[in-house]
Amino acid sequence: MARATTPRRKALTTLAAWSVALIIFFPVLWMILTSFKTEASAVASPPEFLGASWTLENYAEVWSRSDYPRFFWNSVVISVGSTLLGLVIAIPAAWSMAFVPGKKTKDLLMWMLSTKMMPAVAVMIPIYLLFQWLGIYDSKIGLVIALMLMNLPIIVWMLYTYFKEIPGEILEAARMDGAGLWNEVVYVLAPMAVPGIASTVLLNVILAWNEAFWTITLTTTKAAPLSAFIASFSAPQGLFYAKLSAASTMAIAPILILGWFSQKQLVRGLTFGAVK
């Protein structure tokens, strides 16, 4: 919807748009700034901006007080692992729904999505007991499975909408040339689907990274990711703002950086391929 405008108008919209963007971003910015202040400076009134006393001590202390690398590694394994496992299960399903749709395909997709409507709290105890019973409580593999199942409907849905945009004639041509199902998927479909798959992976890694219910419910120490790390830093409220901010920044920084670098894929991923 790009249209010709006058420079004056462009300057005015720029001003308005940047103001709005900065307001939305401000809480994150304020948290990052606070994480570099001393505790006294963090709660100073009136609030200190440039005149604050800056320090790296909060990060040093958070680092020494907890095993950040382990939490970080658990987060990476759980979010990437659950997404990859989800892909393995979802790609064939999305492929067949997109290219061999039946009468029930739409209903099936809706049903998959509806499994996400069950509030997590409602099934917390059964899942907890099941995980204990299966011996996967507080294990990375357990969380990989739980988060995979949580995100699977979204992965299937996203892939389905991307796959549907691939013209079926190309697949038919490949089939005519004698390509089997496997070759069709690997050599024809996969290369065309890479951008869609990349967006799907990105969005689901972020969703899994930020998941904070199952990751806290189903872990104690061994498999706890950064969401649990931050929960352990939620000190008595109103205290230790600088350290809380430093820990918070450390918990979200990896995903913030990943998200910003892959903004284009992410924007496509966030729209679930459902909007053009």
């Binding site: 900065l22 979802a90 067949s96 509030p119 930020n210 703002y241 903004q263």
Partner: protein, 290 residues
Amino acid sequence: MSTQSTRFAARLMVAPSVFVLFIWMIVPLAMTLYFSFRFYRLLSPERAGWTGLTNYTWFFKAPDFWLAMGNTLLLVGGVLVITVVLGTLIALLIDQPVYGQGPLRILVIAPFFVMPPVAASIWENLFMHPQNGLFAAVARGLGGQPILFLESYPMASVIGIVSWEWLPFATLILLTALQSLSSEQLEAAEMDGASGLNRFRYIILPHMTRAITVVVLIQTIFLLGIFGEIFTTTQGGPGSASNTLPYMIFKQAIVAKDIGRAAAGGIIAVILANIVAYFLMRGIGKNLDA
């Protein structure tokens, strides 16, 4: 041109997804249903047994049950309205030609990267805290009294926090829809003398119906189960002013250690989700096909 064998192969390929999701749904649901009719308290294990509907009647008779139901729907509705309206306005704004579109978009989607416990604790401590929060400092600076956000307006505060988390999602989807609108159509309308408001009402808004549907559908799914933000900030309080159904269930399970009651609450939550889904699909589901 799908032959019998491709159809069979196709079924086979969908099977794993359907199978694991079915298990993930049905086993915990069956267990919850079973527990909901049992007397099952962790603190008195010797009294285990069938108890009929008492777990359910406890919920319906609980003084804050209807309040919690209302709050659950208020949270979903409030966040939907705020994110769709603000998201539309922001999308219209940043769809205009502006300097630094890329960095601008990065700032707007930032809240999406903040995990809920962090979002809740930033807002609770750094902003809304009546002593040390930034809002309190601003209020004092202006010579006023700090507003006790989480004490006086707990639901509004929680809705505000959750809206901030979901605003990027709504904005991005609506923005993408907006960008696919042909500019010729708008220019033609402009030449015919259609006012800005009319252009929005008759051209832009109808074009965005599908995008709004996606926003409402996806957000509702996530919002019905919102729990962490309330746990971190108000803990359902003060009193039970910001109690929601998920939080009520959590309290029964973890604080009261009454698994039977928590399970009954879980079944009620599942029924509520189904009712909402039914109306959602009837109301807006048709928009998804186009």
